[in-house]
Amino acid sequence: MSAEQDSSTESFESLEAHAYQLEVRRNLLLSTPALIVLFCAASGPLLIMLVFSFLTPGDYGGIKWQFSTEAWFQVAFYRDIFDETVSIADAHLSIFWRSVKLSFLTTLVAFVLGFPTAYFIATRSPETRNLWLFLVTIPFWTNLLIRTFAILEIIRNQGLVNNVLIALGVIDQPLDMLYTDIAILLGMTYVYIPLMILPIYASMERFDFQLVEAAYDLYATRWRVLVRVIVPLVKPGVIAGSILVFVPSLGAYVTPRVLGGGKHLMIGNLIELQFGQGRNWPLGAALSLSLLVIVMVALIFYVRSAQKEGGAHGH
């Protein structure tokens, strides 16, 4: 009797397990296309990079299938060709530092200019709002390279700005703006500022502007309304915008190439150099992965601190 009962529960359990297996198989089947895309477009290339970074460079580019940690060593250290002495690769480090610094400044400038712009658009009437948004997105319609050369035209020694300033008698000699960090900063801010404006605008559009009146009514000055009410409530948009500007700035290639004139390299240019003239693919791969790590660490810190600050408001 009891044995019979046992066998029936057992068979029920195995039935259940079978149904579960079927479901797992079906789910796997359904998610296959997404998994293929993810592998081919994201994980696959990353894996290839990881493997390449542990190989030996080929004589004319490419790689030799020979394990080596030399590439990772070269990211931070420099080995003299003749006497094999080891020193810190300060050229690489200064390029990394310039990239982080310029990306941070780009994000900051984009925020300082983009926040009021988003506020302006969000406070227009609904009919005119779309026109302003349209104007913000227009630059996306033109190729990045062309837009960057347009900036070059404007700031070069015989360019628009210098010509106007000389014609007005403000200066005698043209200002050297091109091929400086400032030129790169200007170019990157111009290219990425829509990515700051749009998420902040999206947050502000949902913002209840009656809260501004309420704070205003409760003795808050204009500045305090901004700091205590508007900024905390549109913070998700500010975080999204900052990430969207900071990450591509860090990996920027065209802008520092054109406006930095090859003298002021950023990480993107350094990586390109390894796959091109440098003929050191493993080092290029190791540099790329280093960039990835920098971005991820920066993001984790940023989101953590933003959350902490957001949480502090909550009690």
Binding site: D208, Q210, L211, E213, A214, A215, Y216, D217, L218, Y219, A220, T221, R224, R228, V229, P232, L233, G310, H313, G314, H315
Partner: protein, 364 residues
Amino acid sequence: MSDDVAVEARGVSKIFGASTDQEVRALDHVSVSIAQNEFFTLLGPSGCGKTTLLRLIAGFEHPTDGAILLEGKDISALPPFQRPVNTVFQNYALFPHMTVAQNIGFGLEMQGQSKDEVANTVGAMLVLVKMENLKNRRIDQISGGQQQRVALARALAPRPKVLLLDEPLSALDLKLRKEMQVELKRLQHETGITFIFVTHDQEEALTMSDRVAVMNEGRILQVGAPHEIYNRPNDRFVADFIGDTNFMPAEVIEHDESEVRIRLPSGIEITIPAPPGLPQGSEVTLAIRPEQARIVTDADAISIQGSLTDEIYIGTDTQYRVDIGMTSPFVVRVQNANGERARIPLGSRVGIAVDPRTIQILQD
């Protein structure tokens, strides 16, 4: 002006979209003065300018013409954060990123009070609105009625000279609304602050206010105590907007010092007590409240006659509609005595008896 005037509007006009083709005159030379410690209500249909007047007092808008005075001082040019006036908004406008206590303390903090002072006042306010045990909740974690209390506490905490309330009860259900009406009266009593209350609900206005201003199309039509507004409306709009009213055209035949002889459309003449000032032969409108008329089955002895078309039972009262040969029927409301009502067959000829002293004469 005497010392006990809290707020005064002097010939205030507000034009929106001036110098465009969509010019809207929201307020048209409005003058009113509101006494200290008064529960004053601005009553009118939507778009009558009542909220605009409130926003002018708060400082969110500035008058196109005229001046707003607070305790005798012109505050028309001051921004909202420099006016000792606080507002309870229709949808409360509580700060969603702050707790109940932080919301209530916001105004005090902005005034630069110390942490201890803020905490003390917030504590007292939480007790006043009976929210002590919810002080650490976020705004989206409390009910609509509780949000209402927080909004009140937040606006009262800095002890403003005047509290402005912009239809604060309209989002609540009926039962909660009745509770909050009592609550608001209590708060006004306990704090001794002047309340200016905006509503389109005439019942709310009559039950809560010390005085009511009835507004329409950017103007104040009548200001007075609720019973004055109800019993002695001086304007057809006021009589129509507040409670139900029967209107009847009439012509002035004779006028002496205390009485006026009037001819009804049916040709019958009646005498009504009225103050002097109605020229002979002028067209007037008589306003008669449904509950001040009676149905009389012996029709011949009565001046106003007609046939009974409808009899509607509404619990405490019965409403009779009588066709007296005008476009709309004459409505009579009779209280049901002992739960019973007199049954009158529909279509029968009835008379409508009215005490002449309760008839209001409106000049068109």
